[in-house]
């Protein structure tokens, strides 16, 4: 295996994992952008997407209906969570809301443990076949699905946010809730929609990566944290930023595992997080990390 082939392998691996991080990061950005809440339970949506998909495929449901049902179900749950637990706390200190989302993540994880147990579930890739060789790198077919779905979602979101009335309304709420309300936009409904959308994004990420990573009740925490780092890397309020952040994080992780030390691979993501914060303080960052002057 030549060094160039190794590099190609690291890049390919990083991009695939990065695609999942980007989808998860987007969920953080949409909820934070619209409602100014950091949703700790975002990773649990990913877990539910993975477990839901595994269960439905295991029951013999086709890939497409299983995907649609799973994503819609998790989106509904996210909206429900907003309605029951987040909406009543509007105006409360951000910390209280953060704790509520922590409580929600604990409860969802526990619920998944009760329903699915501790054993990881395996599910078949969306299309069967041996791995492909691309530029010296080995790429499994499901990895291409991850990337394809991610790109499709990004394109869809771009269209939605820039070309539709509803999308523009969501953006308006993110920029200035009071102004949006004065313009006749129903802010509460937009909030619920933003939660549903982030739930759908998390579930999508979970559903497409599960054939590679399996599905377990406790997979959400680490994936959620990585997605959060991706979102922060991109400024926390910018969807394109989160996408770039996700891919960057995935590639950096893969290269550091391959070229530096695999033991510290996970630490790399969080080192980046600290560096971003410090660089932000120094004012060297060409974009701003949101959250400054808020909390």
């Amino acid at each position: 295996m030549t060094f160039a082939e190794q590099l190609a392998q690291y890049l390919a691996t990083g991009l695939v994992v990065g695609g999942a991080y980007a989808l998860i990061g987007l969920g953080f950005v949409i909820v934070y952008g619209v409602t100014r809440v950091i949703n700790f339970a975002q990773g649990e949506f990913v877990m539910l997407g993975a477990l839901g998909m595994a269960t439905l495929l295991g029951r013999g449901v086709g890939v497409v209906p299983a995907f649609v049902v799973t994503v819609a179900g998790v989106a509904l749950l996210a909206a429900l969570l907003e309605w029951v637990a987040i909406h009543p706390l509007r105006g409360a200190p951000p910390l209280a809301v953060l704790i509520v989302t922590i409580g929600a993540s604990i409860a969802i994880r526990g619920g998944a443990l009760v329903v699915w147990g501790t054993d990881p579930l395996a599910l078949p890739p969306f299309t069967a076949g041996p791995p492909l060789a691309l530029l010296g790198a080995v790429v499994v077919r499901q990895a291409l699905w991850v990337l394809a779905v991610a790109v499709l979602v990004f394109a869809g979101l771009w269209f939605f946010f820039t070309r539709t009335y509803a999308g523009t309304a969501v953006r308006a709420c993110a920029l200035n809730a009071r102004g949006a309300r004065l313009m006749g936009i129903r802010v509460e409904r937009t909030h619920r929609f933003a939660w549903a959308l982030s739930g759908a994004l998390g579930a999508t990420a979970g559903a497409v990566i599960a054939p590679i990573t399996y599905a377990t009740y406790d997979m959400g925490l680490m994936l959620g944290l990585k997605g959060f780092v991706a979102a922060v890397l991109g400024g926390l309020v910018s969807p394109p930023g989160a996408i770039a952040g996700g891919f960057l994080l995935g590639v950096l992780e893969s290269f550091s595992a391959g070229l530096l030390s695999s033991g510290y691979k996970d630490a790399v993501a969080f080192l980046i997080l600290i560096v971003i914060c410090i660089v932000q303080v120094a004012g060297w960052l060409p974009w701003r990390v949101a959250g400054e002057g808020e909390a």
Binding site: M1, Y10, T13, G117, P120, Y214, D218, S254, S262
Partner: protein, 382 residues
């Protein structure tokens, strides 16, 4: 606010429901939730199964000649050291148990050692780390049932050497199980003259080990060893197959459950790993002393809970050892401890135990055998 603290304190002291007076009470601490739960749940299931089985026969005949029912008090430590310590103290002081079985993980077992030693109550751990029972002088009250890592690793290294596979790539999961395996392997490999061409780590929550395996592949090993448990062990196995590595793949006893095979799919075929005999009980020679015990346990466990695994076996051994000791020592903690030390030639699931004042594990390398996965089934490795 002033009402709340006493209220919570009062809850702490809720009395334990009264039990049959002459029941022998044994405590158990398993990781039913948290990262250790895939081990802890079969352990709890096995313990409950044994309790029901024993009590169906009336119970334990103590040294007083009377038959006492067995009462297990099981707590979940959530794979958390602090909770394990509290659970141990609760079992000792509130539930007044005679002995404690568990914990599931090495970290929680080491965390409760101090409590156990001071309270002078026998503990039979289901966790593997050799530090749990050594040095024996400082571990008077502590025993364990899983094979120590040096036994397992020793058999694996012998197997590699016998086949001339001397250039080895190694990967381990970055928590206690993987680290302890690595420490023993490094020692054994040096002694046996093996070359370690690559040494990599990954996290139990990692979703992809391709990067680490790429490094291993580049090092050109004759054999690759992955020391982990599912799901990460299964992901590594799939990545290994996808990357087209041709060297034979070896794993640890951590993959000794059906879940590993289900998750890794066809990639699991050909994997060779050292483990207890439970998995290949059907294929053992008829004169193997363990065969009958293994088959009986496997059958009963599989009827109730699903596929057998070696972790449940550790709990079976631990409960049986305590029960055997109580037949001699009754409800007296010190006498039960002494009785455990005196157990010889006890045919268990993990192996044949010969405890002594200097050996609180009681196993030797006969408790380990090389197992191979063939068409999704366990077979003795050739």
């Amino acid at each position: 606010m002033r009402m709340l603290t006493p209220l919570l304190l009062a809850l702490l002291l809720v009395p334990v429901p009264a039990l049959a007076q002459d029941a022998y009470r044994v405590g158990a601490i398993f990781s039913i939730t948290g990262p250790g739960s895939s081990l802890g749940i079969p352990e709890r299931d096995t313990a409950l199964m044994l309790e029901a089985e024993l009590n169906a026969k009336g119970g334990i005949r103590g040294p007083d000649g009377k038959v006492h029912p067995l009462k297990l008090v099981i707590y979940d430590d959530a794979s958390d050291e602090t909770k394990a310590v509290l659970a141990a103290k609760k079992l000792i002081d509130e539930d007044k148990v005679v002995a404690i079985v568990g914990t599931t993980l090495s970290g929680t077992s080491l965390a409760i050692l101090d409590t156990i030693q001071k309270a002078e109550i026998p503990l039979v751990s289901c966790a593997a780390a050799v530090k749990i029972v050594e040095p024996v002088a400082e571990r008077k009250w502590v025993f364990k049932t899983p094979q120590s890592d040096h036994l397992i690793v020793g058999i694996l290294v012998d197997y590699l050497k016998a086949r001339g596979l001397t250039r080895v790539g190694w990967l381990n999961v970055d928590y206690a199980f993987g680290q302890l395996g690595w420490i023993e392997f490094e020692k054994a490999a040096q002694k046996a003259g093996l070359t370690i061409a690559a040494n990599e780590k990954f996290g139990q929550k990692d979703v992809d080990m391709t990067a680490q395996l790429t490094r291993v592949k580049a090092a050109g090993p004759q054999a690759v060893i992955v020391w982990s448990i599912p799901p990460s062990a299964s992901i590594a196995t799939k990545n290994f197959a996808d990357l087209g590595l041709r060297a034979p793949l070896f794993q640890s006893h951590g993959v000794g459950n059906k879940m590993f095979i289900q998750l890794a799919g066809p990639a699991a075929n050909g994997v060779v790993f050292p483990a207890g005999k439970l998995l290949i009980a059907e294929h053992l020679a008829d004169n193997d002393p363990q065969k009958a015990v293994l088959l009986a346990y496997a059958k009963e466990f599989e009827v109730r809970y699903g596929s057998r695994n070696t972790f449940g076996g550790h709990a079976w051994d631990a409960v049986q050892i305590v029960v055997k000791a109580m037949e001699k020592g009754g409800a007296d903690r010190a006498r039960v401890r002494g009785a455990i030390e005196g157990i010889r030639n006890f045919v268990g699931i993990t192996g044949v135990f010969d405890f002594s004042p200097t050996d609180h594990n009681g196993l030797d390398s006969r408790a380990v055998t090389m197992t191979q996965i063939v068409d999704g089934q366990w077979r003795p490795a050739k």
